[in-house]
Each structure stands twice: as C-alpha cells, then as structure tokens.
Amino acid sequence: MSKVIEISPTTRHEGHSKLVLKVDDQGIIERGDWLSITPVRGVEKLAVGKTAEQVPKIASRVCGICPIAHCLAGIEAMEASMGVYIPDDAYLLRVILQCANRIHSHALHNILSLPDMYIPGTDVKINPFTPEEPVRSVAKRIQRIREIAQTIGEISGGECIHPSNPRIGGMYKNLQPRAKAKIYDLAKEGLVLARDHMEFMIAVFRNFQKRDWAEVGGMQVPIPDDLGYHNQGYMAADPLYGSSSLDENPRWDPARWNETRPWDWYMGEMEITDDYPEYPIGGTTPKGAKAWPQMEACTGVPLYDGQPVEVGPRARLQVFKGYDEKGTMAQQIARSMEFPDAFYKIIECCDALNCSAPVLADEIPQGDGSLGWAANEAPRGCDVHLGRVKDGRVQEYSMLVPTTWNFPTCSRALTGAPWQLAEVIMRGYDPCVSCATHMIVVDEDRRLVAEKLIQ
C-alpha cells in the first residue's frame, strides 16, 4: 500500500514550494507532485493599461535573482510587438548583462546545492559555510565570481538587481571606454576562477553520481543510477541569449504552447499517512494533515506540443550542443559548464562594443496591438514574455517563466527515486518559485478561462 509524505516547505531554493509524494513500501516515489505555494503576484493584470516603458520594469520585480532576464524578456516582448529594432551596440550591452546575470545566479545556486554533496573520496557532506579547507576557498571563489558578475551587471545595466539601463529601443547609456576596460578585466579574472570552479563542481557532482548511498536526516538512502530521469522533452530558444518574434527564424513558437490548469494536472485531495520528524529542517508534515495539490498549486501548467518540457542549462546544451546525459547530476554539470561560456561571451562582446556608437533606436513605433513575444534564456531556462502594445499602452501581457515549465516536468522526474532524495532532484532544476507563480490560463481557443482557484 502506498504512503503519502509531504515535504513542506522545501528548502534551499528561491520562493515557497512543497513536495507531495506517494511512495511505496520501500520508500520509492510512485508519483510526486512538486508545486508552488507562493501566492499569485498578478503582474500580468497589473501590466494592462500601463505604458510599454513601465511594464518590463514592473515585471522585473517578480524576483531579485533573475530580474535581468525578466527585464530583458519584457522589454523585448514590447519591442517585438511594437516592431522596434535595436542598434547592435545596445544588443551587445544586453548580452553582457545577460551573461553577468547567468554567472551570478549559477554561482549562487552552487551554495544551495553543495550541502547535498560530499567532499570527493570521503563521507563528509559539504558545508559551504565552514571555515575549513577545501570548502573555504571554494566558498570564497563563489563569492568572488558573484561579485565579479554583479559588478559587470552593474556597469552594463546600471544596476545588478532590477537593471535600470535597458529600455525599449535599446539602452539608456553606452559605456565609457574606461568602464568597458573594467568589464574586460573583471571577465578575464572571472574566467580563470570560473574554469577552476567548473572543474571542482563537476568533480563533486560526478562523485555523487558514483556513490551508492547518501545520508539524509540520519537515514542511509540508496542513490539510484537514474536519479531525476524523465522522458519529457526539452525546450530552449538560444544557447545563450534569446529569440523573439522579430527574428528571421524565431526559435520558439507560441502556436505550440498551451496552458492547462493545476486542477487537471496535479493529484487530488489526500491525507498524509506518514511522517519523519528527523527529516532535515523540522521534519516532514505530521501524519493526518491534508494535502490537496490540485487546489494548492499556484501555477498554471504550460505545455509545449501538449507535454510539459524541461528548460534550463541542460535543455540549452541538449538542444544546441548535443549534450545527451540525463538525470539530476547531468543537469548540475550542464549548469557548471555554462560558467566559462558566459565569461567568454562577455569578453567577445567587449571586443565588439563601440563605446561611441548610439545605443538607442532612432525610431520607436508605438505599437499597433499585434502580438509580440520574446524568449530569454534566463539562468533557469527559457523565460518567455508575450505582450500586445497599442499606442504605447500594454493591452495584454503574459509571462511564461522557467520554473513554471519545470514544475510538472520535475514532478515526473521524481518517480522512481527514494523520497528522501526528492529535494535533491528538485534542486537540480535551480527552482526560482516566486516568479513562476502565475495564474493566466488559456484554453484550446486561447481564451482566458475562469480558474478553479479564483472562484
């Protein structure tokens, strides 16, 4: 007979989510539901009627980890709807900003996922905050990488959190040569650190992959070889930056996207039948409590070609670079491999950037109400914003953020793993839950449908 276990809240990621797990007698997950319980933000509703300039800035406020991705996706969705083409140098500045965001976010995620891992060759778990070596110097390296990335973001974007420099039609300001040189120097320094860091992280993840067991809350749990495997597809718009409906060959297709309600996707009401007080951070939910994923989930379930898909570093590598490894560790490794790529791109962009060129389009049409979308490859995956602008005002706005795509996919990936490792699988997706929380649901005819939750 299967048992029901609930881990709520899940820890060491951004936002507020929980895991509801149906497990068999051996503790193996038969079906898992990972759902967001962060309250709905309502950015899409807030956007309607605002000026196109305002909306991306509001949208970037959904999160403080990847506001850059949301800001850029929002701005490009507006530009796509209005038909604005930006100067090349503005694009280069945006790419620098994008890379800076990716580096800092990936480095931050390392801090969150390292405590699940072991120091290679030992049975000692990594505590990133310990003053002892070798972890101490790794933590310092992570700090420095983040500092470098945030400073680069600050220079190119005006701010590293909620960037002020990107605007519709390009950027507010180009860089002074001195600032460009500073970015260049920082990227050169970062590249060396990033390469060392990538090698360290990959060694740690490979070591976990080879292990037979992991210790969770005093329990010795076998690690399956297929930890985090799923058979859903992958979706990515670009290896690094993004795509929009203005592109000659758009790499994302709104016609293939559909969204369904959590009501149709998640499990129904059930009672928690088992609890483990020794599980880390306060134990699992006590026996007898009720869980109702259908009603509690605060996200829609977006489908691409009728299926949930995975987005993120592995999806990018899988779609564009032929990376074919599966599972949670493969995901972590893919993430680590993106560090040097991003630094190389920053250096490349610095080389190409002309500091005295204009960074704002000469002509900015005000929009005729046609649909525009932009897919930005945020650190956590493909972040699609869709919008309609007419006469400078936003008529319709929607955000399809990475973790929203990953919720149902990760729920599928939980099956077959010991329940104690469910959080490890979840962390492989680098979840960023708060921005994922949206309740704009459309039916097959693309009409907004009344939602069960909002009744």
């Binding site: 400073t151 220079i155 590293c160 959190i161 420099n165 300001k173 180009n174 001195r178 600032a179």
Partner: protein, 291 residues
C-alpha cells in the same frame, strides 16, 4: 579638532591658493577645487571627479565626470546656478566605471552625499566609492532663469559675453568680455534666490572632507577648512607636493571672523524661516527639513 556651532568640525583652517598659474587663470578665487582634484587625479586618489561642467546654454552648468585635468579646467569658476552633481554619483560608478569618485558641491549636496552613504537607497555600491567630497561655501543658489534675468535684464548684458560672475563685498558682479563691469546690490538679487535655500542651516559645507570658499580671505585667495581624516590626508599630501601656497587664517583680512559672521547670519535667518514655516498656512505648517 575645532568644533564650532556654525562652522562645523574642522582640523585646520587656512588661506590658500593654487601654485599653478594655469588653474588660477580661470578659477573663481584660489583655484582650490580644481587644484585638489587635479592633484588627486594625478596621484590616483580619485579616478574621476563630478564637477559642474559647461552646459548647452551659457553659464548653465551641467554635471560632468572629469577624468582628466583638461576636463577639470573646463569646469573652473562658479556659475551661481544649480548643477545637480549628486545626480551623477551613481552613473559615475556605472557607465563611467569609476572606483574612486571625487565630487564637489554646495553644502546641501554634501548633505545628500553623506546621507546617501549612510542610507544607500538607490545608491547600491556607491558609498564606499566616494573618495573625496569637496564642499563650497554657499549663502544661497539661483535657478538658471534667475541668472538670465539678473544678467540680461538687470545688468543689461548678454550672457554669452560674460567672462565671470561673482558675489562679494555685498554685490553681485558681472564681468564682460569687453571689460565692462556691472555691479548689482544684493538687495536686487534676493528675490531671485531659490526659496528652498532659505531653510538651509549650513554655510561652509560642514559635512565635506574639505570645504572652501572666498569669504574671509583677500581676492585671489580662498579659505579652506580641512575637516575629515580623508580630507586631512589628501590636504597634507597636496601640501607636501607643493600644490598650494598658504597663509595662516589669522594673518589675512578679513579673516575667519567674517566667515563666522556670515555663517551666523545665514543660519540665524534661516532658523527663523523654518520657525515661520512651521505655522504657515491653515491648520498645519510646513515640515522642518532637518527633523
């Protein structure tokens, strides 16, 4: 360290002028600000300075990030109207890529800089990058429109022809290219002042690292208050490098007594304005900006 109710805290006060003739040629008085920034730039104490550079219209300053001595020279002289220097303080650390910023400003701007350092709302990563803040004495400031009115209507001079504006000896002076000098009594200029200046309780930039102004010293010289540890450090280095010629403030006329007198006048007068404002209007007064 001297502690004075009106002149603030300072470690030393001297009369000084730059030893560089090129700086003195275009400076308002002793060329203190230009010389200090030029020295700090050359020594690598600052990467650049936010100064009131030339704007689009004559005598209308625009904040400018000067990263070379030549750019500093372009910003010499007092313009007597508002240059929102603090608005550049974040941009200087962003698209200009500066790590050590120098800034010059009026007492209110120094207050803003220090407040920004204490509560960096909207100034992320800026506080630790302010390497040198130089304050200038200020009785009150004028909007640009006032300067246009004063120079073009009261002094009957086209602004383009003006070579220097000055306030001293109880008058507003307009020097023109062709040698004419117009003086307006300050009685005339009062109504053109910024009303916001009338609640200011700071005359000699008490919060700056170093503050300077013409009052208290003969023509061509400036009074300099060295205030903070940072200011003392930079000032002594500049002195050692021979940047300035100085005299003890006690030996010059009119001396620090005049500075104290004017500071007392300004602050007493403005305290009264603040008091008046507190019962201004019906039922509720205007807020005291200092509490």
């Amino acid at each position: 360290m001297v502690q004075d109710n009106f002149l603030g805290n300072y470690s030393s006060c001297v009369a000084a002028r730059s030893t560089n003739r090129a700086i003195l040629a275009g400076s308002q008085d002793g060329g203190i600000v230009t010389q200090l920034f030029a020295f700090a730039l050359e020594e690598g104490i600052i990467d650049g300075a936010i100064v009131a550079g030339p704007g689009d219209e004559p005598w209308r300053p625009r904040p400018m990030v000067a990263t070379s001595v030549a750019e500093l020279y372009a910003a010499r002289g007092t313009k007597y109207n508002i240059s929102p220097n603090v608005s550049f303080i974040k941009e200087a650390t962003r698209s200009y890529g500066l790590d050590r910023v120098g800034i010059v400003g009026t007492p209110c701007q120094m207050q803003a800089v220090r407040k920004g350092q204490l509560y960096p709302v909207g100034l992320r990563d800026v506080p630790d990058k302010i390497a040198l803040a130089i304050g200038i004495f200020c009785m009150e400031n004028f909007p640009y429109q006032s300067i246009v009115q004063l120079v073009e209507d009261h002094a009957n001079t086209k602004l383009e022809n003006v070579t220097k504006l000055d306030i001293g000896k109880g008058k507003f002076w307009v020097y023109t290219e062709r040698g004419a000098v117009v003086q307006l009594p300050l009685k005339i200029t009062h109504k053109y002042e910024q009303p916001g200046c009338h609640v200011c309780l700071d005359y000699v930039a008490n919060l700056a690292d170093i503050s300077t102004g013409s009052v208290g010293t003969p023509d061509g010289w400036s009074t300099v208050f060295v205030r903070s540890k940072k200011g003392t450090d930079i000032w002594s280095k500049a002195m050692a490098a021979g940047c300035f010629e100085t005299k003890p403030i006690e030996e010059v006329k009119p001396g620090i007594e005049l500075v104290t007198k004017l500071a007392t006048e300004k602050i007493t007068k403005n305290r009264k304005t603040i008091e008046e404002r507190s019962s201004f209007g019906v039922g509720k007064g205007l807020r005291n900006p200092y509490i």
